[in-house]
């Protein structure tokens, strides 16, 4: 159950996409997201689809993993689809019953929304699949560094993010360990009323919190012992480096974005 959480999980491989500069990957993903919501025609969605498929292919990530990342949001997809289907009115009426009218515009918009959200999740999970969390936060720090002039604690924020990301797998592992230990003592997590189930969580949450606080304290101590004092004058072991492939990827993305904007303007 807990193992199935894939968003934000790094999937190490040796591919062009993995080797790209993380800063470019983030910028490209952002442009891609804007593009998805800018485009109003079937063509722009098709462009997004082809772009995603190509990126997945280049990254050597098994398509199965991408589908797995979409699975958890299926309820949201269904909800969004239904809302759009029922609420929007316009164009031909396909089906009518009492106050419910299924119209051309409703069908179109709900299909658009579903495809868009799927592409959105696929694109962002591709980013996290191909970039290790540490590199990702390095890149975010680097992209946000101009904000330092505005007295924004960029390094501290990035550090907090790194630590949080670093501890997600640890906490998941810890949770499943504690769950197993309590199950071994006969804890019943699967049956009973809502109140009983909430009570059954107590033996898991308390040890989890205790261990999280203990870990936080240990980490703080360990950092202090190594004289950590923030970002000032700190050099990096891994320098982010951009190269030809990053420029090409960005150029392709920008071209596509421009294409979508032009299409939008022309067809409207």
């Amino acid at each position: 159950m807990l193992k199935d959480i894939t968003l934000g999980q790094y999937f190490p491989m040796n591919s062009v996409v993995h080797r790209m500069d993380a800063r470019y990957k983030i910028v490209i993903t952002l442009i891609y997201l804007v593009m998805l919501f800018w485009g109003q025609q079937i063509w722009s969605l098709a462009a997004g689809l082809i772009f995603t498929a190509t990126a997945v292919f280049c990254s050597k990530i098994p398509p199965k993993m991408i589908i797995k990342s979409i699975k958890p949001i299926v309820p949201i997809l269904i909800f969004t689809g239904l809302i759009n289907l029922l609420m929007l009115d316009g164009g031909d009426v396909y089906w009518k019953w009492w106050v419910i009218r299924i119209t051309e515009e409703g069908v179109q918009t709900s299909v658009f929304m579903i495809v868009r959200i799927c592409l959105l999740i696929a694109g962002t999970s591709l980013l996290t699949y191909t970039t290790s969390p540490i590199v990702l936060t390095d890149a975010i720090e680097s992209l946000l560094s101009p904000m330092k002039k505005l007295k924004m604690p960029v390094h501290e924020l990035a550090m907090m993010m790194t630590i949080a990301l670093r501890f997600i797998p640890t906490l998941i592992e810890e949770t499943s360990k504690i769950m197993a230990a309590q199950k071994a003592r006969g804890a019943d997590l699967e049956s009973g009323s809502i109140v009983q189930r909430a009570q059954a969580l107590v033996p898991i949450l308390i040890p989890l919190f205790v261990s999280a606080f203990r870990r936080a304290e240990e980490l703080a101590l360990a950092m202090e012992c190594r004289c950590y004092h923030g970002g000032e004058g700190r050099t990096r072991l891994r320098k982010l480096q951009s190269g030809l492939r990053d420029y090409i990827a960005l150029a392709i993305t920008l071209l596509m974005f421009a294409g979508v904007i032009v299409l939008n303007a022309v067809l409207h």
């Binding site: 999937f11 491989m13 197993a180 309590q182 199950k183 071994a184 003592r185 804890a187 040890p207």
Partner: protein, 288 residues
């Protein structure tokens, strides 16, 4: 009939990802009732994984676990009931303590078994005594105990369910030598008193040699041998090739034998070694 059996048992972690790892590889095993089994093996040899399958916490990738001849993953079996019969104390169990007092924490398992108040009280007090926790400590909060005391409380929490098979995954890891001996002697007494089957995972050859009646040696996800300590230690060469050393005392007696002072029996406990040496020396005394 054996109480626990493994048939062609396999467990693979993270199937289909780059981290795929077979931790238990086609194991066949049968453990007789009342046995005290020492489980040894190098780090990562699959001991913990095998132990977690024994009480139905992990579902085997393939193969079967039989308790009293019944498959524990059969649709009809109640897995919770299996866990009351096969108690498992995890590696570093002290992190599972959560109740306000040690007493309540030990009572968690028996309470889940829906026993009567009086029975729960009897079990908590009995097991607390068995692991050496005082009346005073039972009233404390678990977090106010020392590391070793927490460990005892956690072990008592599983013992209090009075399982027929008690599995302990490195119960003495990280404890001082005295605390180690104490926990293990108390465990031995518990074994004698209740006649339950015990599986003790340990990295210490000395410990398993001293307490176990059978040894299960795992290496690279496979069972290398399951035999009496004498039988296992006789194969010192293959043990060493797996990165497992014989007990110190056995090595000393091997070196004595090389120097010409040999004994008929294999020695693997200090007590027995001392006895042998004493009789030999006493036998010699009149001659000098």
């Amino acid at each position: 009939m054996p109480i626990l059996e493994a048939k062609n048992l396999t467990y693979t972690y993270s199937i289909g990802s780059p981290f795929e790892k077979t931790a238990v590889d086609h194991i066949d095993l049968s453990i007789a009732e009342g046995e005290f089994v020492g489980v040894i093996g190098h780090t990562g040899s699959g001991k913990s994984t095998l132990m977690q399958m024994m009480n139905g916490l992990l579902q085997p990738t393939s193969g079967q676990i039989l308790l009293d001849g019944c498959d524990i993953w059969d649709k009809k079996t109640d897995r919770r009931n299996i866990r009351f019969q096969v108690g498992l104390v995890f590696q570093y169990p002290e992190y599972q303590l959560f109740e306000e007092t040690v007493y309540q924490d030990i009572a968690f398992g028996p309470k889940n078994m829906k026993l009567s108040e009086a029975e729960i009280d009897r079990r908590v007090r009995e097991t607390a005594e068995a692991v050496g926790l005082t009346e005073e400590q039972l009233k404390k909060a678990p977090y106010a105990l020392s590391g070793g005391q927490k460990r005892r409380a956690a072990i008592a929490g599983v013992m209090a369910m009075e399982p027929r098979v008690l599995i302990l995954d490195e119960p003495t890891a990280g404890l001082d030598p005295k605390g180690r001996t104490k926990i293990l002697t108390q465990l031995q007494a518990f074994h004698k008193r209740t006649g339950c089957t015990i599986l003790l995972v340990s990295h210490s050859m000395e410990d398993v040699a001293r307490y176990a009646s059978k040894l299960l040696v795992l290496s690279q996800a496979k069972v290398v041998c399951y035999d009496t300590p004498t039988g296992v230690f006789a194969q010192s060469q293959s043990l060493e090739s797996m990165g497992l050393a014989l007990p110190q005392i056995t090595r000393i007696f091997k070196q004595l034998a090389e120097k010409g002072i040999s004994f008929e029996d294999e020695v693997y406990t200090v007590k027995y070694g001392a006895e042998l040496l004493k009789t030999r020396l006493e036998g010699r005394n009149p001659e000098c």
